[in-house]
Point group: C2
Chain length 356, copies 2
């Protein structure tokens, strides 16, 4: 078995804490460790370190090497972001080059998982299944009618014990549809977690992205050689960004399976989502989550993050997010925190690059 941890995303959703040079996966935004380290620690009991491959952006290579200085994990650096399909294709090719034949578990580096043991057991089941040649995805058992996630629809009858064939992948629904999904029991959240052997993956890339697959063939000669990074850059320049869901999963003619998994998962995709993760089951109190040096008076359902050196005081707030850093503060309606991108856009337009 192999594990690929995809840590190439850029980081605007947790501004002002996350920045271009400090995206979410490198921040200790949920616990006390960077998310990529937490992701590694969550699965490191499954395989030896040399079977774990991190794929990061070139500009985060140094930082990643520091985080994993005492580990034998492998590292590939993408010259630019091209979404998940090229990342997974590159990883599969590299593992194939190393002689790997066993299933690869592909994990995003920036998700939260409350129950790691349930998660690992689902991965092991998926890997056993993937060894037979199919593509297996984890299906997160939904706990609320969430509009913000993509869904996986399963066949009504299980294929075998607690495994289902996938009927289709569906985009983010509206609220009413999400309610129907939740009630039907046939839908799971798509967490972007896949398991398949290198050969399965590479076959799919030959079928669905032949130009890219040819490029990987040529690149193979350069793996672990000085010219590798330049060759990879040239290949990445010749392709467009596309997700693995869209490029492969929705088009493959192979059997695709889903293993249901009820592990307390969140993609932690916004400050509000992080607030929910941090709240956990503590919903009975006043509903406030705080970090750093804070002083609250009569606040409710608010999220107060002080990452600077200042005291953050709050009085009579309800549903408010405050994030303080050394050079910028954001105060927002907590439920509109995903609109932080609008702030980023204005900063870009105004040339405030030091804040990006």
């Amino acid at each position: 078995m192999h594990v690929v941890i995809m840590a190439g995303g850029s980081g605007t959703r947790f501004w002002p804490v996350s920045r271009e040079l400090r995206p979410k996966q490198f921040l200790n935004i949920v616990g006390d460790k960077p998310m990529v380290v937490a992701t590694y620690e969550r699965i490191k009991s499954l395989v030896t370190d040399d079977r774990i491959l991190l794929v990061v952006g070139e500009r985060h290579r140094k930082e990643t090497e520091r985080f994993f200085a005492n580990s034998a994990v492998r590292l590939l650096a993408e010259p630019k972001g091209r979404n998940t399909a090229p990342c997974i294709g590159l990883a599969a090719k590299y593992i194939d080059h190393l002689g790997g034949r066993e299933p690869i578990i592909v994990l995003p580096a920036d998700h939260y998982i409350a129950n790691a043991e349930v998660f690992r057991n689902a991965l092991l089941q998926a890997a056993r299944l993937a060894a037979e040649g199919g593509i297996v995805t984890l299906g997160i058992v939904p706990t609320r009618p969430e509009k913000g996630y993509g869904y996986i629809k399963r066949h009504a009858q299980p294929e075998k014990d607690n495994v289902y064939r996938v009927l289709k992948f569906v985009e983010k629904p509206d609220l009413e549809t999400a309610r129907d999904y939740l009630l039907s029991g046939d839908y799971y959240w798509n967490a972007g977690i896949f398991v398949a052997t290198p050969q399965t993956l590479l076959d799919e890339f030959y079928n669905q992205m032949p130009h890219f697959a040819d490029g990987l063939d040529q690149l193979k000669l350069s793996f672990d050689r000085p010219e590798f990074q330049a060759k990879l850059e040239s290949l990445y320049d010749s392709i467009e960004g596309i997700s693995f869901d869209y490029a492969i999963m929705e088009k493959t003619s192979r059997p695709v399976y889903v293993v249901p998994c009820d592990c307390g998962w969140s993609d932690v995709g916004s400050w509000f989502s992080l607030y929910e993760v941090r709240m956990g089951n503590k919903k009975d109190g006043l509903g406030n989550v705080t970090e750093g040096n804070t002083l609250l008076i009569d606040c409710k359902d608010s999220f107060l993050v002080s990452r600077g050196k200042r005291l953050l005081t709050a009085l009579g707030l309800k549903n408010i997010l405050v994030v303080d850093t050394d050079d910028a503060i954001m105060v927002a309606d907590l439920e509109r925190s995903q609109e932080v991108k609008k702030i980023i856009d204005i900063l870009k337009e105004s040339g405030s690059i030091e804040l990006l």
Copy 2:
């Protein structure tokens, strides 16, 4: 005529901008000048500088001397705050000692006045009246049913042209009562502005605060002498704090008059009150007031003050106050901003003296 500017207040209401060492009257919180300087400039055309007496707290003496370095205004420093009655008694005694016989206009240093000319004309009228031996107060014509101010009830019939006898002083009313006051036309806001001759004032202190008046008699020998400050401290140690309203105005048997004044006055007693002053007549827009480096998206009726070096961004806020300084931030329900005292209390209890 003489003017006494009372600048002895402590500054908790505009925390975190105001601090013990930087109370409101020394801050440029409304315009671009410290309020005590704006107060001086508002009335300096009425009298020569040597007839203007500033009364400040001892710890603000140096700062005040700097502000008024190019002026011949006089300065007395109180060793501690004892509310307005001792301050006015001391000022009257000092002006009497200097040979002053003309009416003294007593002004708080930290009020906002939109129309200075209307204000000065009312003061001149009050001074003419006070020369005849009464005590005259300015009555601010109310513009809304305000619960936060004390009121002055006049006699229904004017004493003479636009001057009324005062029937009584009334405490802060509830909202319904404030509405009745506004409708009746017989009530004014009490701005704490008084005019009377030194002799009238000193006679009143003999009658109402005889122990303090005796102390002032003894102190008189020390005015402008090295031992003055120590003697004053000893006198202040022997008395309790009490307001001029309570000690004199509500008890005097002299005629008390009110001169109505519609000058766009505010005591600027809270962040919300400052917000209203800053909004002025701009209520037609989105209702936001900003200061410093700010970026607003879809905010309404909010007050955003960046006095630190950071960018303050706000998203989807309504009725929210944000004040950022170098060492503390306050985020509050704008209409509850007067509760900032609760924060101060907690900081005191926790020994965070560097933030007070």
